[in-house]
Amino acid sequence: MATVPKVEVGTDYKEKYGFFVPEEYVFKAKRGLNPDIVKEISWMKQEPEWMTKMRLRSLEIFRKKPMPTWGADLSVIDFENIFYYLKASDKQSKTWEDLPPDIKATYDRLGVPEAERKFLAGVSAQYESEVVYHSLQEELTKKGVIFTDTDSALRDHPDLFKEYFGTVIPPADNKFSALNTAVWSGGSFIYVPKGVRVDIPLQAYFRINAENMGQFERTLIICDEGSFVHYIEGCTAPIYTTDSLHSAVVEIIVKKNARCRYTTIQNWSTNVFNLVTKRAMAYGDATMEWVDGNLGSQITMKYPSVYLMEPGAKGDVLSVAFAGKGQHQDAGGKMIHVAPNTTSTITSKSISKGGGRTSYRGHIKIYPGANNCKSFVKCDALLLDDESRSDTYPYNDVDAENVTLGHEATVSKVSDEQLFYLMSRGIARAEAETMIVNGFIEPFTKELPLEYAVELNRLIQLEMEGSVG
């Protein structure tokens, strides 16, 4: 394995780009985006040259690509006013007292442990449940599974990394994948060897720190033939950040007969623009499942997708979005049927309240020759009041034969009859409404591990009370 010596890389870049690096180098975070900042990020991380070049190339692409205008309104993002790389120590400058009261209240109500809430609030840079994490790591290592943060993976597994990085979502895919490739930092890297089943869900939670929960994290998962892994990212507690842009990229390769499930529960504070590209390639008889829950943020645009590359591949997206006052959740899924005899389903559930807006945006593409494919899309929207809004934008391109394509969409309100029924049993209005909403998303909740399901239900309860900012 050809490893690039760390020191050499640093020296190399110092010479090449003329950096003056004192012995006691202190990285000064700067706002804005330019090639120098990108080079500096790469240098700080002591990355190999190919990655630096890829970052710079991606920056060019980002600059050239126009801002997408087909979805939510992104015109207010000021790219020059963002920190693109912060060392963990810079992120600790906040204190608990600086936090908005509503965020603190939510932590209280959810019963988030002290250490964890400090991390989530950005007050502490580390939250590691050491004991659990280390015993888990030992077990995984025995099986040959790699589970680490993405920066370490680039350093410790350079060949594997280079083989797959950017192959599922190339920088030029869209403006924000280009941005992420230019400035990415942190994220998770998972490799599951042939035939290995990882029985317990791998959670970013075991090892969350400021590095892998950054604004521009990059996740890469490779499931080798016949393997299985379930990865869980995020948590239901709100993540508070003063940075307004979160733009992640998640790439997954699911090889023959393998199965991968990727579960996300995200609850960004409501100042955040959450623009995420998630895509998987599924090969022969492989299964890819996205379970995606979006609660917070100001604007979310996220459409997990599966490219069904070989016969028998199967793709699933199950998503839930909750939009409260001032929020726009533009979410959905994409299924690209490249090979014949592939199947896909997208199930989307959205809830709008207090003038919030949800959109389902989906794309089913069936390529010529991809005959005998099946795809089914179901989107259900629940509106909690008259000011809220929900839209559906399904796009279907079918160029093959014997294709079964189904689409079902419903928009409903919390019905007076259901409310009256529950209330007639003594259940107060607010609790009855919460029950109905939790019942509505139950098809999603039941796919979550129990502790996440319980937390999600509690969070919906808080959202319903309107006490979550």
């Binding site: 007076d416 009256f420 029924y421």
Partner: protein, 261 residues
């Protein structure tokens, strides 16, 4: 002495007055039946008593435990001790019957998530359920099912009575509980209701047909036609209706159900 008193109740639906002055006094321990042909205001009576938002009260009052319950939300009426067994129980997807029953029971006991002493314990909940399920010839398998979702007509009605048994109301309104039931289901339901009869419970049975009254014997029968009581008396009123139907009030409807083939 009346424990539950309806005084000159007037109510309308979509601007049309349906109840035109209904008065009725129920003491705990009594079973009253309200009978009437289609369109007489039976559903309006049950919905108005429980506080359905689609029914507007135009006048009158309903006194229970010293309060005019017409001023209360449905949940407050329920916590005060009222219960409505629905004619058409509502489907609520995604919530299990077990969760629903437990939540309702906790609400009835005034548990608001804080005072744990008011919360029903799992053991207590299970033992309460077990006894009631047996009487209604139901088994555990319906507990994880969603509220009324995919229930047969008989299952829905039995589930209503199960809720009543668990919540132990002091005034229970049974709205057309016999409709859509086969004879076995009526017997199970009636057995369960009769078990609950006693000095702590007043019952108001609302029905088109006399059949259910063979199994749950009323103390008083009131005939509702065009939003008013036209006749009140003892069980003999039901016998009279069984013979002549509602013809004496100009309604060509019998008070006996069509034989179910």
């Amino acid at each position: 002495m009346a424990d539950f008193e309806i005084k000159d109740l007037r109510a309308s639906v979509e601007g049309r007055q349906i109840l035109k002055g209904v008065s009725l006094s129920i003491a705990k321990g009594e079973v009253h039946a309200v009978m009437g042909p289609n369109g007489s205001g039976k559903s309006t009576l049950s919905h108005t008593l429980m506080g359905h938002p689609g029914y507007a009260v135009d006048g009158g009052e309903v006194l229970f435990k010293g309060q005019n319950v017409l001023a209360l939300e449905p949940d407050a009426r329920a916590r005060l001790g009222m219960f409505l067994a629905f004619q058409y129980p509502v489907v609520v997807p995604g919530i299990s019957m077990a969760n629903f029953l437990r939540t309702a029971l906790n609400s009835k006991r005034g548990y608001d998530g804080k005072d744990k002493s008011k919360q029903v314990t799992p053991k207590e909940f299970r033992s309460m359920l077990k006894g009631e399920l047996e009487v209604l010839h139901m088994d555990d398998s319906f507990l994880p099912r969603y509220i009324n979702d995919g229930f047969s007509g008989g299952e829905k009605k039995r589930a209503e009575i199960l809720q009543m048994a668990m919540l132990k109301p002091e005034i229970a309104i049974l709205d057309e509980t016999d409709s859509g039931l086969d004879i076995d289901s009526i017997k199970f339901v009636a057995e369960a209701v009769n078990r609950m009869r006693g000095p702590e419970l007043g019952i108001l049975i609302i029905t088109h047909y006399t059949r259910v009254l063979e199994f749950i014997k009323p103390d008083f029968v009131h005939v509702l036609v065009d939003g008013k009581f036209v006749l009140s008396g003892g069980p003999e009123v039901a016998d009279r209706l069984e013979k002549t139907g509602y013809s004496e009030w100009g309604k060509e409807e019998t008070a006996q159900p069509q034989e179910v083939a």
